[in-house]
């Protein structure tokens, strides 16, 4: 069943997809071992999203330990912080845009240890690719006013 991106259900599906991916397991053996390998994704409004949304992902040793939406970025202490528009993230979720390429081109702004991203690019690409392995639905471009906040997973 397709799950709405972004939503707590979508995060749960993503976690499962990551943990079922042989590529993630193979390339992520050293990810997060001696450094903070967690990510916070900031989805900026547009493309159907009305207000900023945050998704937190933690991974270590090629396994995802946590994936969830959060309300306040100060709740977590991520090693990496990625900012982009919902419209651009949606393209990654659909498998139409390469996340790493988007990062290199500045579509997604990254804060964190760049050398870790360079060193573990294969793992990051495998995690990003796992996003498009399950079905998702997306916020409509003109969401109805009523209930919009709930639908955004906030």
């Amino acid at each position: 069943m397709a799950v709405l991106y972004p939503s707590p259900e979508w995060c749960e599906e993503w976690k499962k997809a990551i943990n079922h991916s042989p590529a993630v397991a193979e390339t992520g053996k050293n990810w997060g071992v001696d450094f903070n390998g967690s990510w916070l994704f900031e989805l900026q409004p547009g493309g159907g999203l009305e207000k900023t949304c945050f998704i937190y992902l933690d991974a270590k040793n090629g396994k995802c330990t946590e994936a969830r939406t959060i309300h306040d970025p100060s709740e977590v202490n991520p090693g990496f912080y990625a900012v982009g528009s919902y419209a651009d993230y949606k393209e990654v979720v659909k498998g139409k845009k390469d996340f790493i390429e988007g990062v290199m081109q500045g579509v997604f702004k990254i804060k964190g240890d760049i050398s870790k991203i360079m060193r573990h690019a294969k793992f990051i690409r495998a995690v990003a690719n796992s996003i498009s392995t399950f079905e998702a639905t997306y916020l409509p471009l003109s969401p109805p006013l009523a209930g919009a906040e709930e639908r955004q997973g906030n």
């Binding site: 790493i100 500045g106 760049i114 050398s115 060193r119 690019a121």
Partner: protein, 419 residues
Amino acid sequence: MPSIDDFIRPKEWVSDFVSDLGRVLRKWGEEKYVPLRQKVDEDWEEHKTVEPLLKEVLVDLGINPAFFPAEAGGTDMPEPMTLINVVCEELARIDAGFATACICSIWGLVPILFKPHRNMELLMEFGPKFCGDQLYVGCHAMTEPSSGADIENIGRMYGKTIQTTATLDGEEWIINGHKTWPSNSGKVGNLYVVACTTKKGSADPHDFALILVPADVPGFSTGKPYKKAGMSADMNTDIWFDHVRVPKRYRLHGPGDDLKYWRRAITMGNIGSAAMCVGIMKNVYEIIKKWTSERVIAGKPLKEHSICADMLSEIAILIESTSAWMWTYARELDHPEIYGWEPWDERFLLKSRGLALYANNAVERACSRAMDFMGSYGYAREFDIEKHWRDQKVIGLWMGGKGLKTLENARYWYDLETL
């Protein structure tokens, strides 16, 4: 107060990520390389100090994989010329020889590395080696004892003077010949891209061939490292091919296309050379700025004397002008959809010679002028100006030298027909 980061680097052309990567290289260089910089200069023969540093950049910081497609284990970074410029600039600021060694690891593979002319069969075979956990280094072998300039004078010579031959024998190439000077030769290189001919004396572009030769094949041998004025982190040796056999598929593309896509490598070499010149000049700027601020002559800092301010102004102008030109050409090469010519276009290659020439004249001038005002301190090893002064010279000599660069630039702008 202005710093080296205030010289031209268009933010709308260089992504934050690539600039951040440059800062990672700079931080790494200052922490890991600068303390060893003088030691590296003495390590030209053994490379005991250099090799672990190469591994840190090419493997641990991911510079080798940055250029390989994802399917071959790489990061597949877009806008490769922009990335090369940042890598060359930041590393050359620390040590131009080291920058040369790092970027030449992938230089020879340009004809198969980038879209739209990737050779995925070869990339899938060799990519995992370049993108793995062990140091694996490429080498681009062009120059021969009789000439380098003739071989790189593609537009007039078409490989006519190449003496290294490739003869097809069933499913294998047999390579015979002698190359000189390639970066990362000797004990450093693991995989050689060899410019050779399938028909000695032929000016037919179809006879120009680029063939991969792993360093461990029978019949391949190298000489002792050259003892040079500078660039110690870049090892150069003679190479001999004595009936070296490699699979037929190791030819990068095939008749016509080898030469065609080699032009992209040469153009990238010209722009990357300019980036190295900018990197050196930025370090010269840092050194001379500090020196002329702290050195007091006749009761005031040296920089407050008008004759010195003239020199300082000139160095800043040289950096600013070279940077502007370099980034503009990088943009043109990375975005053919905007500028209308393909990255392997011969006209762009010719034009990029002008940039390489200008950049080398600029860095030569900057090093020399800085040394003039530091006096014998500038000539002493301690302050590193003399290192840059020794290192930069070869940037003007390589890839055909200043003569070829001058001729090809004039050939583009004035439609020369006989030169």
